[in-house]
Each structure stands twice: as C-alpha cells, then as structure tokens.
Amino acid sequence: MTRRSTRLVWIGVIGCVLAAAVGLSMFALRSGIAYAMDPSDLKEKSIGPGQRVRLVGLVKEGTVVRGDGLKVVFEITDSVETISVEFNNILPDLFREKQGIITEGVLRDDGVFAADTVLAKHDENYMPKEVADSLKKRGVWQGDGTAEQ
C-alpha cells in the first residue's frame, strides 16, 4: 500500500467511527433524555404522548394510598400545582410524605403520571437540587437571602 492510500484508509476509518458516534448520540439524545419538570411545568407545557419526563416535587402529606400488590398512588406538589402519580414497584426506603423526590415516567391521557422510577436521596437531610430549584421558582422557598418585598 502506498503512503497515500494508507492515509486514506485511516481517514475513512476515523471518519466512519466519528460519524457513527455523532449519529448515535444525536439519535439517542432525542429519545434517551427526560426533561425535568415540576407539576406546574407539566400542566403548563404540552408534552408529546409518550415523552419521558422527570417529575420533581414534594410528596403531598396524606396522599399516599397503597393499592393492590405494589401499586402506590400519591400526589407530588410544588405547592402551586399538584399531580397524581402512580407507581407499581417497591418504593425507596427514604420515600416519605413531605419529602422531596424525583420520579421518572410518562404522563397518561387521564392526567395521571405513570412513574417507573422513584428516587429519594440517600441522605435524609438533603433536598434534591431539582426540587429545591422548583420550590424556589414557585416562591415557596426564598432561599436567596432576603424575602421578596
């Protein structure tokens, strides 16, 4: 092989791998991501059917109802809006009322959020960053110095 054709082969191989990586990433970024939203966002914005969403907020007090088997229904709130969440699995140990949690799943047509993942933090003193930001945005938690006058 000549030096020139060797170079061409390498450029081809590198080009193919990079093109494949870029293509795969673009494709995967379309379906592999979930937007983080709080209940207010979820109600305001129109979401395509089947779009995965990461819903964050506080578990509303007194709304956790256990159904048949593992089914659990509870409400997530950002203190402005509230959304009913259905989950069909074992809840994490640190799942409690009034606790900030992250759920991931899809909004069903009947307005119930079908979650397939529920995350609560390892550390009970910790509020997930998404939840804290949402509460700040909704004016419930005036974390930045003085209260709004």
Binding site: M1, R3, T6, R7, V9, W10, V13, I14, V17, L18, A20, A21, L24, S25, F27, A28, L29, S31, G32, I33, A34, Y35, A36, M37, R52, R54, R66, G69, L70, N89, I90, L91, D93, L94, I102, E104, L119, K121, H122, D123, E124, P128, K129, E130, D133
Partner: protein, 660 residues
C-alpha cells in the same frame, strides 16, 4: 493532643509541599543534583506527615472523640469498630484526606522505587506531584478541614447507614488508588513536555505506573458496582449515574493509554497522542472528583456536597487541565510526530482500539455533561438516562470486541489478516455453536442476545489464540507445547487473561440483561410463590437489635423441585440516630447465577411484598474485572516491565519461548 498533632502534621505536609513544588523544578532547570534530590526525600517526608495526620484522624474515629466535629458528624459510639475506622473516609473531609494520602504514596513511590529513572525526569515528576499535593492540601485545610474542634458532646450523629458496610472499607480506597495513580502518568507527561524529550524510552517508563493505576481503578469500579448491587437493593449493577460515569471515563482513557503506550514503546510513534491521553486521563479523574464533590449533578452516590468546595475544586481542575493543555499545545509543535502505520498491523489494531475507546469516552462525557450545558444555555433542566448510554456505548463496543482477538495475533508493522483469520477459525466456530445452542434453548424469537453471547464467546476463546500460536499448537508435540506455554512471557499470559476477562464480563452483562426474571409477590407467613424456577416460601418474621440499629427480617425457604436449597433473610433496618431506614437484600449464589430478594412494604394484614430476581450468570460481571486485575498484576510482575531492571542480564527461560 493526638488530634492536634494530626492537624499540625497536615500543616507541615503543606509547608513541605510548597517547597516540593519549587525546588525539584529549579534543580532540574539548573542541573543541580542536590536540589533535585530534595524531591526524593521531600516526597517521602510529605507522605510521612500526611500518614501521621491520617492515622491521628483515624484514632479520633476509633476512640469516638466527639470533640472533633468531623467525627461527631459521621460516627456513633456504638457502631461496630470496623465501621468506626472506615468512617474515617466515609465523609467528604476524610475522603479528601485519603485522596491526598494516596497522592503522597504515589509521589513517594517515585522517590523510592523510581531511583533508576533519569534524574531530571524524576525531579520534574516530583515537582508536578508537589504542585498537586500543595493545591489539594490547601483545599483540605481551607475548605474541608477534618480537624475542626468543638466542645465535647455525648454522642455522634452516626455514619450514613448506607455507608456502614464492608464495601465502604475497600471501594473508595481502591477507586482513589486508581484515580490518583493516574496523577503519576500525568506528572510524567508534564515532565516530558517540560524537558521537551518524548521517545520510546519514556513510554517504557510510564507503562508500569499506568498499569498499576489501571489495576486499582478497575478493581475500584468493579467493587463499587457490586456494592451498589447488593446495598442499594434495586438489583441493578450499573446505573450510568454521573458519579459512576466519572470513574468510568478515566478508565476508558486509561485503557486507551495502556495500549497506545505500547505502540510508543515499540515503534516510537503515536507520541503526541499518548501524552495527550496521559493528560486527559488524569483530567477526567479530576473532573470526576469535581463532579462528586461539588454536587453540580444529581446522583444517587454522593454523600456530601458543598458549592464553595465545588468552586475550589473547579479552580484546581482549570489550573491543572488548562495548564497542562497549554503546555501541550505550546510544546507539541516541536515534538517529532510519528510515522504512518499500515491499517492491518499490530499498531493499526491498537490505534483502532484507541479510536473506539476514546470515542466511547467522548460520548459518555457528552451524556454526563449535557444536562449541565443544556441548563446553562436554556435554563431548562433535563436528565440523560441509561437509554442514551446504552444506545451509544454498546454499538461502539461491539466492533471493538469483534476486532479484539485479531490485535495480539497481528505482527508489528505489517500483519497478515488472512493468516490471523485462519488461526481464529476455531473461535468463530465456538461462537457460532454457542449462538445456535442459546437460540435453540431460549426460542423466544430473541436473536440479539444469543448473537451477543456468541460474540462474548468469540472474544473469550479468541483471547487465547496468541498463547496457542506462540506455543506452536498442533505444530509441536504436546509436552513441548505445554513447556512452551509455561515459558511464554508473563505479558503474553496477562494479555490473554485480561481480554478473556472482558469476554467474561460481556457474557455476564448480556445474560443478565436478556434473561433475568423478576417476580413481585405479596406473601403472608406460610405462603409460597414461584420465582426464577424456585419455590419461595415465607416462613415468618424475625426482629433483632443490632449495635446501632433495629432490624426486621423475613425468613424465606427456597426449594427447587421440593428440595430445600437455601434459606434467605432479606431485612429492613432502622438507624435511630439518623432516623433512617435501609433495606438489606438477601442474595444466594448458585454457580455463577444469583437469586436476589429485596423486601418491600408490609401491609396491615401481615403480608409483605417481596421483589425476587433470578439473575443468570450475574457474578461474571465482576469476575471479568477480577480476571483483568489479576492479569494486570501478573504483567506487573514481568521483570521486563519493572523499572530499572532491563540492564540486568535477561534470564534464559523467557527467551526460549520466543520461538514461534
């Protein structure tokens, strides 16, 4: 007094590190052997003081000295003694102290064992290590001091129950040994750039250090994965969580570095790329530290985070990465580039390996940082989940695994792919037979999983082709063949076993992903459920009181065809000091497969929900890395890799084996 001595020792280490970051550089620039020698002695001195400091903190933990704020926040007088000790690094401050301790260990190792390296290279390495020690010691003393005192209080706040586990005793030190170990290759790269000499010999000196760091990192990641698997109770072994990615990124680029250094040593080529990899690997380690310590990304693994500390680590990150890359750009134009290689050759295969590994690293980096960048640009939060990583990472790894058996069989410079293909025919045969067998036995219309299992077998069998070839399989009589096998250099054996380990891990991953079964059942005592081919019977509840927790467990009997094969006790614990519940899954191993039972909520009627997984061949996921680590360790014992030895006469045993 002991606590304060520890504090003082840490301050003295900083004072020495300040000198260490100046004197060796100066010595190297002035060619002054005595000034350069301060680097060797200083590195040992710094290690001494940091070790004193670390053991003083450990002493405070061991004796439950709650006048130390850090101990009070993370310990409890009634914890088991082992967890009191491991609690030393089960928190931010302590883990950073462990981090610098390991940094100091590596720096001192260069001082003690690197005695045969060229003096200037060694001095510059000490200088770079001194700079790192100085910045991280300042970080600890100014933002995360573990020696802050308070008026004594009667009881501590307990260690996070999740961290009260033997996994914590081993996992972080291992991971840190890996992370920080790459600081040495980084320092070698900077030293080479400062001196402006970069040649095959440099690669030869760097390789054992890179291999050592890689070993620990591999072990650390595998340990962490197993720890998450049994402790978090979700049955998952990899979550593509930012913190996991942070440790996986340096692993990918470190693996690429190991292979490219090989090319550089043998062919004096790929030099600029290798140096860049050495810089990037440690930069990714630092990035990992930053991501974990700052809490900018939500993760299930972080146990402490603080924005100001994050800013400090970010500054350190920018200083080292930015400085190194600037030096790299400034110097790389003056470095002699290597030649072009034939695509079909050993070095060609290694370049392909590097290309795929670094592309995979880039894609994972993209997925990890995408939420940060996206939020900064649009103020909209999003998360990149496992589907993204699975969709991008797996397709990049498949060609790598397919090409892997070819690599070691190809000759340097010009390989004969057809001849190599012939030698791999038996591996192909084994793969096809396995695929057909798996297809026949599962018969669910799934074709991807059997195919992937076939590929894993291809790799496992193909890994040994080089051994067979070099020992003259079927060309010589069997006794000669075995004698030659024994006589082959250890590096050949270690290559085979490390690649075999990759195949083993892939087999485990594919079979668990495709064939695991999950059964969720609500059982009252006396009730039975069928799960994963077993009968699981609920035998009743037991409660007991641990040293610092209360535990309620359910007793299960596992029967297969009527015979009792195991009894299991999944449980829930409650740690009163932190008011925190945890689940303890029960795991029973059958061969390489495992039955995994996690406990759910109890119902008022006395039933409890159980989540039961049958995980076929799951332990292979960790046996694979164990093989890789053992193989790497074997390679380190090869005398040709050890620093300073090649001048001695080579023993004859190795040479005999070179016939092929």
């Amino acid at each position: 007094m002991i606590v304060e001595l520890g504090h003082m020792a840490l301050v003295l280490a900083l004072a020495l590190a300040l000198l260490q970051s100046v004197l060796p550089f100066w010595g190297a620039a002035a060619s002054d052997d005595r000034l350069m020698a301060t680097g060797d002695v200083g590195s040992v001195g710094i290690l001494f003081f940091i070790a004193v400091s670390f053991f003083c903190l450990m002493w405070a933990y061991a004796t439950s000295d709650f006048s130390v704020v850090n101990v009070w926040e993370n310990s409890h007088s009634k914890m088991p003694f082992l967890y009191k000790l491991t609690g030393t690094w089960g928190n931010h401050e302590g883990s950073m102290l462990l981090w610098v301790l390991i940094l100091a260990i590596f720096a001192a190792a260069v001082g003690v064992f690197g005695g045969s390296l060229p003096a200037k290279l060694r001095a510059n390495v000490h200088g770079v290590q001194g700079l790192m020690l100085m910045t991280f010691l300042m970080f600890i003393l100014l933002t995360s001091n573990p020696f802050v005192r308070q008026a004594a209080v009667p009881e501590g706040q307990d260690l996070n129950p999740i961290l009260q586990d033997i996994g914590l005793a081993i996992h972080p030190p291992m991971l840190y040994l890996g992370y920080v170990g790459f600081s040495i290759t980084f320092a070698f790269a900077i030293a080479a750039l400062i001196e402006g000499r970069l040649d095959a010999a440099w690669a030869r000196w760097v390789r054992p250090w890179a291999l050592g760091a890689w070993l620990f990192l591999t072990a650390g990641i595998a340990m962490g994965s197993y720890w998450a698997y049994y402790e978090l109770g979700w049955g998952g072994w990899w979550f593509w969580d930012p913190v996991e990615n942070a440790s996986f990124l340096p692993w990918l680029s470190g693996t690429a570095l190991l292979h490219s250094a090989l090319v550089m040593e043998k062919r004096d080529a790929l030099k600029i790329w290798t140096v860049l990899l050495a810089i990037l690997t440690f930069s990714l380690s630092l990035l990992g530290t930053f991501l974990v310590r700052s809490g900018v990304l939500t993760s299930v693994h972080t146990f402490a985070s603080d924005p100001t500390r994050g800013l400090f680590v970010l500054l350190i990150l920018c200083f080292f990465v930015g400085g190194a890359l600037a030096l790299f750009i400034f110097r790389s134009s003056s470095l002699q580039a290597g030649g072009m290689f034939a695509p079909v050759s050993r070095e060609g295969a290694l370049v392909l390996n590097n290309l795929l590994l670094s592309t995979a690293a880039a894609v994972i980096l993209l997925g990890t940082l995408y939420p940060l960048v996206y939020e900064a640009l649009t103020d909209q939060k999003l998360s990149v989940g496992a589907p993204f990583f699975n969709m991008t990472f797996a397709p990049l790894m498949i060609p790598l695994v397919l090409a892997l058996p070819f690599g070691p069989l190809l000759a340097w410079k010009r390989g004969d792919i057809l001849a190599v293909g012939q030698r791999l025919l038996f591996a192909l045969g084994a793969a096809i037979i396995t695929t057909i067998l798996v297809l026949g036995f599962t018969a669910k219309g799934q074709w991807l999983a059997p195919l992937c299992i076939g590929i894993a077998v291809w790799l496992m069998v193909g890994s040994f082709a080089e051994l067979f070839q070099r020992a003259g399989f079927r060309k010589v009589a069997m006794p000669v063949f075995f004698a030659r096998m024994r006589g082959l250099p250890r590096t050949v054996w270690s290559t085979a076993f490390a690649h075999f380990g990759v195949g083993v891990m892939m087999l485990g991953i594919v079979s668990v992903t495709a064939y695991e079964t999950e059964t969720v059942a609500s059982l009252k005592p006396g009730e039975t459920v069928q799960a994963g081919g077993f009968e699981v019977k609920h035998m009743g509840y037991t409660s007991r009181t641990g040293p610092n927790f209360d535990e309620n467990s359910a007793r299960l009997e596992i029967r297969e065809g009527g015979n009792l094969v195991a009894s299991m006790e999944p449980s829930k614990r409650f740690y009163p000091a932190r008011q925190m519940p945890t689940s303890e899954a029960a795991i029973e191993t059958f061969g390489f497969s495992q039955l995994y039972v996690a406990l759910g909520e109890g119902t008022p009627e006395g039933a409890t929900t159980f989540r039961i997984w049958w995980k076929p061949l799951v332990t292979l996921i960790w046996f694979g890395p164990v093989l890789m680590v053992l193989a790497g360790a074997l390679s380190l014992t090869d005398r040709r890799l050890r620093v300073g030895v090649p001048k001695r006469a080579r023993p004859k045993a190795d040479e005999k084996a070179y016939a092929a």
